[in-house]
């Protein structure tokens, strides 16, 4: 494999590379794995994208993020090959204008990208979503994927505390934060589904988070009372939302433990009604602020006729995600600093070269052609890792099409073929004319 990055020879000694990384400023102060060609190439084998392919420019210094450079940094972070496509997906989401990474990486705020993962690969890649998922569970995926993104921002984007980044404090997530949703314990559609993806896709959602704010409760048996208190905690008076001209920007992720999620799922008819209730209660009375601050809020038009200062403008800005241990009693909220919109990207979605897609379809068609049927490609959407196929039972098949495998059997077989060729889970819709 032809790699372009300059090389350097060092002693085959972990301490030697660690010292070099500290001297060069390549790392976060913790030990890194040496990015040898063998390790880097192992990651590059996990994606169909060429090493020279560019994701975009990473802020703040607009370094060009090639797949090769991303792989080198992911190697140092300890990412395993199967997890490398999640790093790529995360960076694809990061460079979108609406994520506003240029401001996020330079602000005085503590904000940093937090990765939230959905999809079937969570367990295989050891991305934590149970007890200790926000720190301490130590799954390899959780500890390395977020770290790889942080190292890319440092080494490819040029983010340096005190220099190009003016963050006053930073935060622990700057090492890297990556957790998953406990989808099976959620009473609602998954975060990825709400972002427009299929449940069987691996999706990374990037949230510009200011940190993990813990709340706890043992007093509120009524789930609506609990939701009320949760909303009041989220609407804390020195929130960035109260510094903005409006509350109509960014999202707040509310990580809810499975036991509370079950209670909220029973108490509220839908996710939307839960979000609306939180929004309705997430306000503080203007009297909470000191007089000079009240004047600022009034001038910004943030105070309503009842003297309430609402935190956010829209219910969907409050984003529940179910995760955490079964010990109950706790939730976490991850506020943004408002100037960044949550972004999601499907893993592998952008890597479908025409040749790969053609090879995948040829093998899938072979499943039905022997029965005289065919599969027609209706749509291939790489950005959402989604394929729509239509089964055609033509003149050569039996009149009812009963000689072709039933859709329930055929669909997973086609999905396996496509996933294998396209190197990852994807959303497959099979239009079957035999089904009404």
């Amino acid at each position: 494999m032809e790699l372009a990055s300059p090389t350097l020879e060092i002693d085959d000694d972990p301490e030697a590379f660690f010292q070099l990384s500290l001297a060069e400023g390549w790392g976060d102060g913790a030990p890194l794995l040496p990015p040898t060609d063998e390790r880097v190439e192992a990651l590059l084998e996990a994606t169909a994208l060429a090493p020279s392919h560019t994701i975009g420019k990473l802020p703040p210094r607009h370094g060009t993020a090639t797949i090769e450079l991303i792989a080198i940094n992911a190697t140092m972070a300890g990412v395993e090959p199967a997890a490398f496509p999640l790093v790529i997906a995360a960076l694809e989401a990061l460079v979108r204008p609406e994520f506003n990474a240029i401001a996020l990486t330079t602000t005085t705020s503590s904000v940093h990208p937090t990765l939230i993962v959905n999809g079937p690969s969570r367990d295989k890649l050891r991305i934590d979503y149970r007890a200790g998922c926000l720190g301490g569970a130590a799954g390899r995926g959780s500890m390395t994927i977020g770290r790889a993104v942080s190292l890319c921002l440092r080494n490819v984007g040029g983010q340096r505390a005190g220099a190009t980044s003016r963050s006053v404090f930073g935060q622990p997530a700057r090492f890297g934060q990556c957790f998953a949703e406990w989808e099976e314990r959620s009473p609602w559609p998954t975060l990825a589904e709400r972002q427009g993806f299929a449940r069987d896709q691996d999706v990374v959602t990037l949230h510009g988070s200011k940190g993990d704010f813990p709340v706890a409760d043992t007093n509120n048996d009524d789930p609506r009372d609990l939701a009320y208190m949760l909303a009041k905690c989220i609407a804390y008076p020195l929130s960035n939302y109260y510094l903005e001209l409006t509350g109509d920007c960014g999202q707040i992720v509310v990580v809810i433990n499975p036991m509370w999620a079950e209670r909220f799922g029973r108490a509220f008819a839908s996710l939307e009604s839960f979000q609306e209730y939180l929004r309705e209660q997430a306000w503080q009375p203007i009297e909470l602020w000191r007089p000079a601050n009240r004047e600022v809020l009034r001038r910004k038009g943030r105070v309503d006729a009842q003297g309430r200062v609402y935190l956010v403008h829209r219910p969907e800005q409050l984003v529940p995600v179910v995760a955490g241990g079964l010990g109950s009693l706790h939730a976490m909220f991850l506020p943004s600093w408002c100037q960044s919109e949550m972004q999601s990207a499907a893993v592998h979605g952008a890597y479908w070269t025409p040749e790969l897609l053609a090879a995948a379809l040829d093998e899938a068609r072979a499943l039905v052609r022997s029965d005289g049927a065919d599969l027609i490609l209706v749509e291939a959407d790489p950005a959402r890792a989604r394929v729509v196929l239509r089964l055609e039972v033509g003149d050569e098949t039996c009149a009812t099409g009963a000689c072709v495998m039933p859709g329930d059997t055929l669909r997973p077989m086609i999905a396996e073929v496509l996933s294998r060729h396209l190197r990852g889970a994807l959303g497959l819709q099979l239009i079957d004319p035999r089904v009404g």
Binding site: D13, G63, A103, T106, A163, R166, L243, L245, D248, Q339
Partner: protein
């Protein structure tokens, strides 16, 4: 046991860093004329009361000198509000002959003040970014790697935000002629 240096194994690694070549050096511009009759843009983001006060003082001084102040408050940068902000900036560019863009007194607001100043400079018009002293290095670095190393920076004291209007007034009056000199305007 110490392994003799000659016997130590060596490995080859890849450098993890991108090169940060600056994207050229766009020129800056000077007015080269009297300020009277000139449409002078003053950009603020609605956050810093100190800068909004300075803007009001400067607007009065500009009118006194026969110039036409054109104030702009920028909004959010993402979502539906972000689209409106971009449209407002475009419209403002058409209505001005020169400008000052501020205030840089935090990380992202410095970056946006510089970017909005570059937006004016890219249209061939004289402009200065108003930046508090603590963030001047950040402003110059940002301007450089955005390809505008010559972007003019008006340095203001830091911090401004905690000052009363009585304390801000002499700062506003002192910095006004410095701004005019920076953009090559005469009174």
């Amino acid at each position: 046991m110490n392994v003799p240096a000659a016997a130590k194994r060596r490995i080859t690694i890849r450098r993890p860093t991108a090169s940060f070549a600056e994207e050229g050096g766009a020129p800056s511009f000077e007015l080269g004329r009297n300020i009277a009759g000139v449409r002078v843009g003053i950009r603020h983001d609605g956050t810093w009361r100190s800068w909004q006060y300075v803007a009001r003082v400067w607007a009065d001084l500009l009118r006194r000198d026969g110039a036409i102040p054109v104030l702009l408050q920028t909004g959010e940068r993402t979502g539906p509000e972000g689209e409106k902000t971009r449209a407002d900036l475009e419209a403002w560019h058409e209505r001005i002959d020169c400008a000052v863009s501020g205030l840089g007194t935090c990380g992202s607001c410095t970056m946006w003040s510089v970017r909005d100043a570059i937006g004016v400079e890219a249209r061939g018009k004289p402009v200065a970014a108003a930046i508090c002293e603590e963030f001047v290095g950040h402003a110059r670095t940002t301007a450089s790697f955005l390809g505008h190393p010559e972007l003019k920076v008006l340095v203001l004291p830091y911090p401004l935000e905690t000052l009363s209007e009585t304390e801000l007034l002499p700062i506003a009056e002192e910095s006004y002629p410095r701004f005019l000199a920076l953009i090559g305007a005469r009174r």
